[in-house]
């Protein structure tokens, strides 16, 4: 039997993904041990795992080097890969939002926004082109995006908002919701067809687990 390969996002999604897979009877003990091996196996079920940077997970899955991936919707939207997005795992939930100084609240339809700071240039560009039908200047940042409007680098930002506390403490507010974000299970388009039975079993198992936890 061929190995099925699962790509997990390194970071806050790892632990929750591992826990879900263990609950459906996949052996992740190698993954939990602090080994330096990059690829880990469950020999009984013929499943291989590897941890990758979240932004790379959709790439591995699109190219078929991983059959299944666990990754945040934010990354899926930003990377724009051609994948099957089969399950909403529900965890790591937050929102992708347009945010800016409090005085802009309620005025966003009259605003002409010129500069947008974000870690997600593609999501921001899509939002402004398709939803707002505006041409804007996108400034790619790598962290502390909230800083941009405070120091005058941009008028608004597009960023993940979890509790909204960071925004609030810096005098910023959510101006518009762009998308609901949570962890998703993605599957390569060819694998879904060629290994349908095994992959469907994993999807169904995880779906049952999610229902139990609701």
């Amino acid at each position: 039997m061929r190995y099925l390969t699962i790509a997990l996002s390194k970071g806050r999604l790892t632990e929750m993904s591992v826990e879900l897979f263990e609950a459906i009877g996949i052996d992740c003990s190698e993954l939990k041990s602090s080994t330096r091996k990059l690829i880990l196996c469950d020999e009984k079920n013929k499943i291989k795992f590897f941890l990758a940077k979240p932004a790379d997970v959709p790439t591995y899955v699109e190219y078929g080097t991983a059959d299944i991936g666990i990754v945040g919707k934010d990354t899926i939207l930003e990377e724009g890969r051609n994948l099957y997005e089969v399950l909403d795992l529900g965890f790591a939930a937050c929102k992708m939002a347009l945010a800016g100084p409090a005085e802009l609240q309620g005025k966003i339809d009259e605003l002409t926004i010129r500069r947008v700071g974000t870690k997600y240039p593609n999501i921001a560009r899509n939002y402004f082109e398709k939803t707002r039908r505006e041409s804007v200047e996108i400034i790619k940042l790598n962290g502390s995006v909230e800083l941009a409007p405070l120091v005058g680098l941009s008028e608004v930002i597009v960023d993940l908002v979890e509790s909204g506390r960071t925004l609030k403490e810096n005098g910023l507010v959510v101006l518009d919701n762009i998308a609901d974000i949570s962890a998703r299970m993605v599957v390569n388009r060819v694998s879904m067809k060629m290994e349908n039975e095994r992959i469907q079993k994993i999807i169904d198992g995880v779906r049952r687990q999610l229902l139990l936890r609701r």
Partner: protein, 419 residues
């Protein structure tokens, strides 16, 4: 100025000896398969007007095409596919030709793709197009040609998924979805994004049965019995016609004895936007992308001024070669049978022998030597040529059999009659 001199542009490649040989050999087998079904090969220009590919039916995004200008300032593109030019030909040069017309092609196409996993910016497409026949028979024949082409290319484990865009269109009409939502939801269904599909469906009030069916669409794939089940629960005419179309196509493919390669995916929607009826994709192990895609595109030729039903498929040869991998290269290697070495004073008889053997369908190289035969043997070994023939001035001929390490003497007559 010469900064890029030693590089090739992104997404293009040199295809060298063994690989090139295997590719041409495979194209030969594919061409033979096409001919065996009565498809005739055509060539279309590598360069076309941009307008050809930017019709109302937006089949190719402009940012994906390689563009430049002619002397009159008109926009040209390197063709991103050959299906659209075939539609152009059918509606113009061939508008009065007796239908159906059966085209085949083997040619390079150009797209700004993200490179990798078998995708290139320049790649060879092979395919057939059947114009002027809208029957289930032609749907099935094209799928049969597709399957037999993959088999002829040497692929054994593959699967052809069949869908029908009419099924979804019927449901969308019945539910009264807006045009914008139809575009949105069909992308979501194609991604098997259940969450997204539900979000859109929830905005509409519709009968529970219909709602359930649309929500199920992303998962409506798998073995052929999907069709049987759907036939019972489908209400609207358009969707039912789509189901009956697939059913009949499968019946015909059963007569071809090819159903083992077939499965169903009614959630397969986002192909080229010119898809109108049955659509299909081919998958295999070892490649993350479809290696084959095809379908019905009945409205494409009308954008060129003539209504004509049409169906066809194309295969990405580079992708197929990746799927075949090492098996392909080990099967086919270019080879030279013998190397004929001579000195200046034995040149005439050496050339005569070489030419005679070539006419007997052997592959022969010749080499003039100075002192000794070592240089010839070394070259032959490096190119894996099995035999080296040394022609001496006195008419003596020495044959070095490199495989068995034997040297024997023979005569001109013996060599010329050996085959």
């Amino acid at each position: 100025m010469s900064k890029w001199k030693i590089y090739t542009p992104d997404g293009v490649q040199d295809i060298l000896f063994d690989e090139c040989y295997a590719k041409k050999e495979m194209e030969g087998r594919i061409r033979k398969t096409f001919r065996s079904y009565g498809f005739y090969e055509i060539e279309t220009p590598t360069i076309e007007f941009f307008d050809v590919f930017s019709t109302d039916i937006e089949s190719f995004p402009q940012e994906g095409m390689v563009k430049f200008f002619d002397q009159k300032g008109r926009i040209l593109v390197l063709r991103p596919d050959i299906t659209v030019p075939v539609a152009r030909i059918t509606a113009t040069k061939n508008r009065d030709v007796q239908l159906p017309i059966k085209y085949s092609y083997i040619g390079n196409v150009f797209r700004f793709n993200e490179v990798g996993g078998g995708r290139q910016n320049e790649f060879t497409q092979v395919g057939v197009e059947l114009l002027g026949d809208s029957s289930c028979e032609s749907d099935a024949e094209i799928i049969a040609v597709a399957i037999n082409t993959l088999k002829a290319a040497g692929l054994e484990n593959f699967q052809i998924d069949i869908g029908q865009v009419g099924f979804f269109n019927g449901l969308a009409e019945e539910a009264g979805l807006s045009e914008k939502d139809i575009a949105g939801i069909s992308k979501l269904i194609d991604r098997k994004d259940y969450v997204g599909v539900e979000e859109i469906v929830d905005r509409y009030s519709m009968p529970d049965e219909l709602r359930e069916l649309i929500l199920k669409l992303p998962g409506l794939f798998g073995s052929l019995d999907v069709i049987e089940k759907l036939k019972k629960i489908t209400k609207n005419k358009k969707s039912l016609a789509a189901i009956e179309n697939i059913e009949e196509v499968i019946n015909i493919l059963r007569d071809y004895g090819l159903t083992k390669y077939i499965s169903i995916d009614l959630g397969m929607l986002k192909g080229p936007d010119y898809d109108t009826g049955i659509i299909f994709r081919g998958f295999t192990y070892g490649v993350g992308f479809p290696i084959l895609s095809g379908g019905r595109y009945d409205s494409l030729t009308s954008t060129f001024g003539k209504d004509c039903p049409a169906i066809g498929f194309s295969i990405g040869i580079n992708m197929l070669m990746m799927a075949l991998g090492k098996t392909l290269l080990s099967k086919d290697r270019p080879g030279v049978d013998s190397l004929i070495c001579y000195k200046k004073n034995s040149r005439k008889s050496a050339i005569e022998i070489a030419e005679t053997l070539r006419k007997q369908d052997m592959n022969i190289e010749t080499m003039m030597l100075g002192e000794g035969i070592e240089k010839g043997l070394e070259y032959a070994r490096s190119k894996q040529i099995g035999g080296v023939i040394l022609i001496e001035a006195d008419g003596r001929i020495l044959v070095h059999d490199l495989e068995n390490d034997i040297v024997s003497e023979t005569s001109i007559e013996a060599i010329l009659n050996s085959k």
